[in-house]
């Protein structure tokens, strides 16, 4: 059940009505039931893995809090982390490592006995596993107490708005809200609905339409050159942001409808002036997860410069692998690590260069934003490409036949529309960024009737131009 489907809207209405009619103390039960029902609509038996992780983590965390001996506490934590990681490793990474080993054996002409296993990846497993691990680590560190109510804990892992694509919530934020539910707040409800439909708009009007052009180029990177390849990389950069931030907006919007405030995941990432800043603005809950549970335990920056560089690379490589079990994701992560380190190493030199060229603050900022955007776009090519070969092929083609016009094939209207929406989206982002810095003066100054018609117009655009999952595709012959 996708967020942008009629089925989900009906489900949401039913869940909300039931939640509203249920007494406060039992509302968690409605949310838990709705969350598991939502999960069941994907692949029912995968819910057993979620149940297993929930039960073990809940029980283990209580044990962890009750034990005093450091050695035993560490052992329990290690066990909990291993138990949570095991399904993730098996379903997501088994074939990746297995196939890679087979290729290594094949190079040395040795036989490799373990076959490839056809596995379906349980939806949302990467997200709830990380959430479970962070909970165990937080209980271990004493940052939060263990949740003794099994139902509330199960809901913490399974809460349906954030189950599939995050945000990766911490116990301190979500569990406390689940323990102390709010009364229905119509302001929060309206804000939730607004954000939810803004997410739907970004996903099905902008991101999916940008995806049509992107898919055309990335499906045959050897066939496209110059401006077409560059445009595809830029459009994918926008597509993935619109797509992912749309899911986050829909999740946060849904949460608000039920009186729950989920964490922010994006903060104008493409306005970052460096790759380091980009990661403070992009997928914030994942970045902070890696910072708190990988980078800092490895020593963070309080180690030798070499070790520090290695820590950064480890975090980025793991982050790449988290996004997908394929080498191109590792390259993507590695490239970001490299950009990050180069950015830090060259900072003094760049400052001197800026002074030498007497570039003003604003011009330098614009230049930095543009450079960062292009570096990030370059890295996204590895993320989107089907293989490393395809990524290198497309990148090398970006510098060939630059005089050729942009190829659109049978997607003329869709591509023009996508580009128009991309421009509108960029302008809106800039306005929001500016307005956020000025306490949303502009937004508050817009007359109510104009806002009202903007909502009507937005909903009509969603209905008319939103792409359904079964979009007509003409193979052009």
């Amino acid at each position: 059940m996708l967020f942008n489907s009629l089925g989900f809207y009906l489900f949401l209405m039913a869940a909300f009505s039931l939640w509203l009619l249920t007494p406060m103390r039992s509302r968690w039960l409605v949310l838990l039931g709705a969350s598991y029902f939502f999960y069941f609509t994907w692949t029912p038996w995968f819910a057993l893995i979620l149940m297993f992780c929930s039960t073990v983590t809940w029980w283990g965390a209580i044990r962890l809090a009750d034990i005093e001996a450091t050695g035993r506490r560490k052992a329990v934590l290690a066990t909990l982390v291993t138990v949570n990681l095991a399904p993730l490793f098996f379903f997501k990474y088994f074939n990746f490592f297995n196939d890679s080993l087979r290729e290594i054996f094949a190079l040395s002409r040795a036989t490799y006995p373990v076959p490839h296993i056809a596995l379906l990846l349980p939806v949302g497993i990467s997200f709830y596993t990380f959430q479970a691990i962070s909970y165990c680590a937080d209980v271990y560190k004493g940052r939060i107490g263990p949740e003794r109510h099994v139902g509330l804990f199960a809901l913490y892992l399974a809460f349906f708005p954030k189950l599939l694509s995050g945000p990766i919530e911490r116990g301190a934020n979500l569990l406390s809200q689940l323990r102390n539910p709010r009364l229905f707040d119509n302001r929060l409800f309206v804000a939730g609905m607004q954000l939810f439909f803004w997410g739907v708009f970004k996903k099905i009007v902008i991101a999916d339409r940008l995806g049509m052009y992107v898919d055309m180029v990335f499906s045959q990177p050897q066939a496209y050159w110059g401006k077409t390849a560059i445009l595809a990389a830029w459009l994918f950069t926008l597509q993935i942001y619109c797509d992912f931030s749309a899911y986050t907006d829909m999740a946060i919007g849904c949460g608000r409808i039920f009186g729950i405030e989920l964490s922010q995941n994006f903060n104008f990432p493409y306005l970052a002036r460096s790759v380091a800043e980009f990661w403070r603005r992009w997928h914030i809950t994942l970045t902070s997860w890696f910072r708190d549970y990988v980078y800092l335990p490895l020593g963070g920056n309080k180690v030798s410069p070499t070790r520090w560089g290695a820590n950064i690379m480890v975090v980025f490589l793991l982050s790449g692998l988290w996004h997908g079990a394929a080498w191109n994701f590792v390259w993507w992560g590695g490239l970001h690590g490299l950009f990050y380190l180069i950015g830090i190493i060259t900072e003094p030199f760049r400052l001197r260069l800026r002074e030498f060229c007497s570039i003003s603050g604003k011009a330098a900022a614009i230049l930095q934003v543009l450079i960062t955007f292009n570096l990030v776009s370059l890295a996204w090519v590895f993320f989107r490409a089907s293989s490393i070969e395809d990524a290198f092929c497309l990148i090398s083609h970006m510098f060939i036949n630059l005089s050729l016009p942009v190829q659109i094939m049978g997607l003329r209207f869709s591509t023009y529309l996508a580009c128009c929406f991309a421009v509108i989206f960029i302008v809106l982002e800039l306005l929001q960024y500016w307005d956020a810095e000025h306490d949303y003066r502009c937004l508050r100054a817009i007359p109510t009737f104009l806002k009202f018609f903007a909502y009507v117009g937005g909903l009509l655009v969603i209905s008319l131009l939103g792409l359904s999952s079964k979009q007509f595709i003409y193979f052009y012959y």
Binding site: F189, Q220, S468, K470, Q471, I473, Y477
Partner: protein, 313 residues
């Protein structure tokens, strides 16, 4: 904001949304009707996919023949869609006397042609015939979303057609000529050299059902093979011949069915093509002229058609 005020605002939003939905749908639907020629009692109906969109000018036909001609054709339409489209049109317009049915060697294998082509018919979901077809093809979510929200029946492809209809730019005319030196690269890129012609029995059956349906109503059917370039024809010549034989046999056993093979005559004339599968403006003009002559002969003689047409083997 009180709950009462929230509910009244939500209801007002819904009302304005539904009004907007209705108005936009009506405007676009009117454009689409103009584009497909749904708004007139056509005597000649041209039905098919992009070959006929690029290859036949319904407006010129209408002028030359002096009778209403409609072109209910769009890219990516397969034989199943065509059957229901034809039924929809013929049941709404009993004036139809001749159906020009676009045929090509790959028409019995729609998997290589398009995906979810039935969604192009969603704007006509209110029509009983199309509604029946869509109920079979679409998921319940798609079907009922389109039923509830009228604007959701459109997508990029149909919006463009509706806008063309509203602006009166019904004929798609590609004036550029195919560059011969690019053809090999193009065909290789599309991996078409290895794409053989196949026949899906279900598709063949629905084609035969379509012919039977039309002839039972006393409508003449003219199967027209719009030209493709010779390089495309040479990809799988044996199977192509088998499919062409099906068209010839269909014409030979039905006295009201004719087969016009324009492919044979123009496949080598690259100047008439926009790309390997579609005619350009010059090609369209030429083929439309030929079709008008042949149809006039067919309608006047009622027995055979022009010199370059074949009726069966």
């Amino acid at each position: 904001m009180s709950n009462k005020s929230l509910i009244s605002k939500a209801l007002l939003l819904l009302v304005f949304f539904l009004i907007g939905d209705f108005i936009i749908f009506k405007v676009l639907k009117a454009g689409l009707d103009l584009y497909y020629g749904m708004n007139k009692p056509a005597e000649v109906l041209c039905i098919g996919n992009s070959h006929i969109v690029a290859g036949i000018d319904a407006g010129s036909m209408e002028k030359e023949m002096g009778i209403p001609v409609s072109k209910y054709a769009t890219s990516g339409i397969n034989t199943f869609d065509r059957f229901w489209m034809m039924r929809q049109f013929v049941e709404a317009h009993p004036s139809v006397k001749v159906v020009v049915y676009d045929v090509d060697p790959r028409m019995f294998w729609s998997e290589d042609l398009s995906f979810a082509s039935y969604t192009l018919l969603l704007p006509y979901i209110d029509d009983q015939v199309i509604s029946h077809y869509l109920k079979q093809e679409a998921s319940w979510q798609e079907y009922y979303t389109s039923r509830l929200l009228r604007t959701a029946r459109f997508q990029d492809h149909t919006i463009v057609q509706a806008l063309r209809g509203l602006l009166g730019q019904i004929e798609v005319e590609q004036s550029s000529r195919m560059r011969v030196e690019n053809i090999h690269n193009y065909l290789e890129r599309e991996s078409l050299w290895s794409r053989n012609i196949r026949i899906n029995p279900e598709s063949l059956k629905i084609f035969q059902t379509s012919i039977a349906y039309l002839t039972a109503k006393g409508i003449k059917v003219v199967l027209v093979f719009i030209p493709l370039i010779d390089l495309v024809n040479e990809i799988d010549p044996d199977n192509q011949e088998k499919v062409v034989t099906i068209f010839q046999e269909t014409a030979s056993i039905n006295k009201n069915v004719y087969f016009l093979d324009y492919n044979r005559d123009y496949q080598h004339k690259y100047a008439l093509f926009y790309d390997p599968w579609h005619l350009n403006k010059d090609g369209k003009e030429l083929v439309t002229g030929r079709l008008v002559t042949d149809l006039q002969l067919l309608l006047s003689l009622n027995t055979s058609v022009g010199t370059n047409t074949r009726r069966g083997k």
